[in-house]
């Protein structure tokens, strides 16, 4: 079985099968991260496409500096940030800004829908750690590597994010009661 670095070398030389193998291995986590951050399937798919095309560029991934998945998540994060630099504020989850597909999928579970809205209303720094640790199930160390910040920062941001989410969900319960 070829290593990821070997597959990437082959892909850069024009081997499509190697490129697609890498894509199948890593598109899921990249897509989910982009989806959790943007709240829109379409945007998440565009990010996936851009990330994998960027992977083929000359000075992309360096195996010495970390895992390929970490590199891809980092690239997705940068692309999301630059794409939505002006939109972050407006992503503070009006239900109407959510993708229709998401609303349809979640309409049967109002509570989950509200949670989704609450997550999308988090500041990006908090949303990132929630996406990676709570939604993707990565441990603090992996999240810290992907985000390029200290472990303690991940821990404190996650703690704060959960507190905000709990308060919002509590408020919701108060409203519905």
């Amino acid at each position: 079985m070829k290593s990821e670095f070997e597959l990437l070398k082959l892909a850069k030389k024009g081997n499509e099968a190697a490129f697609l193998k890498l894509y199948h291995r890593h598109q899921g986590p990249v897509f989910r991260f982009a989806l959790h951050m943007s709240g829109q399937v379409e945007t998440a798919e565009e990010i996936v496409q851009d990330v994998f095309l960027a992977l083929l560029s000359a000075n992309g991934f360096d195996a010495a500096s970390g895992s390929l998945q970490g590199y891809l998540i980092g690239a997705a994060r940068n692309m999301l940030r630059s794409r939505m630099r002006h939109a972050w504020r407006f992503m503070e989850a009006e239900p109407a800004t959510l993708g229709c597909e998401l609303l349809d999928a979640l309409s049967k579970e109002q509570e989950l829908h509200d949670l989704r809205v609450a997550i999308l209303s988090l500041p990006p720094n908090y949303r990132e750690v929630v996406a990676l640790c709570d939604l993707e199930g990565l441990d603090y160390a992996q999240a810290a590597t992907h985000l390029g910040c200290p472990l303690g920062t991940v821990r404190s941001r996650l703690h704060r994010a959960r507190a905000i989410l709990a308060a919002k969900m509590q408020k919701r319960v108060g409203c519905t009661a």
Partner: protein, 142 residues
């Protein structure tokens, strides 16, 4: 603590309710982009061959320059100067001298040092021509 666990549990449920992967259309678009990118690229051997050809061309030019006789090379003791790039492949068997009147600029282009005269003036020169009709050397008469 229990609130945290409950929240995390809900988030896990939320994550499993959301799409897990990009749709197949992303793969199709990526494949198309990949093929377009690599079909435009000329094979690397083509670049290598072009680079070698340029290198050979450069080297042959340098060699030609070096093998040409220097302009101040004296053809023989009688003051003739070999004409640049006039080396015929035919060995010299007989030579004739032809006297000509040329402008100083024509003479200097043949590699002969010209005394300071008016540029419109003509100076006399002897041209050494081989039996094959190729001019081999030139000499300033005046």
């Amino acid at each position: 603590m229990n609130e945290d666990i409950d929240l995390i549990d809900k988030m896990r449920r939320l994550a499993s309710a959301l799409p897990r992967e990009a749709s197949p259309r992303v793969e199709q678009r990526l494949s198309a982009a990949f093929r377009a990118r690599h079909s435009r690229k000329a094979p690397i051997w083509l670049y290598a061959a072009a680079a070698c050809a340029l290198l050979l061309l450069g080297l042959s030019f340098i060699y030609k320059r070096q093998s040409a006789p220097p302009a101040d090379f004296v053809y023989n003791a009688s003051g003739f100067v070999a004409l640049p790039y006039s080396q015929s492949g035919v060995p010299v068997e007989s030579l004739v001298v032809i006297r000509v009147a040329v402008t100083p600029s024509q003479l200097s282009s043949m590699g002969v040092a010209v005394p300071a005269v008016a540029s419109s003036a003509r100076v006399k020169a002897d041209v050494l021509v081989g039996q094959d009709g190729v001019a081999r050397a030139v000499r300033l008469v005046e």
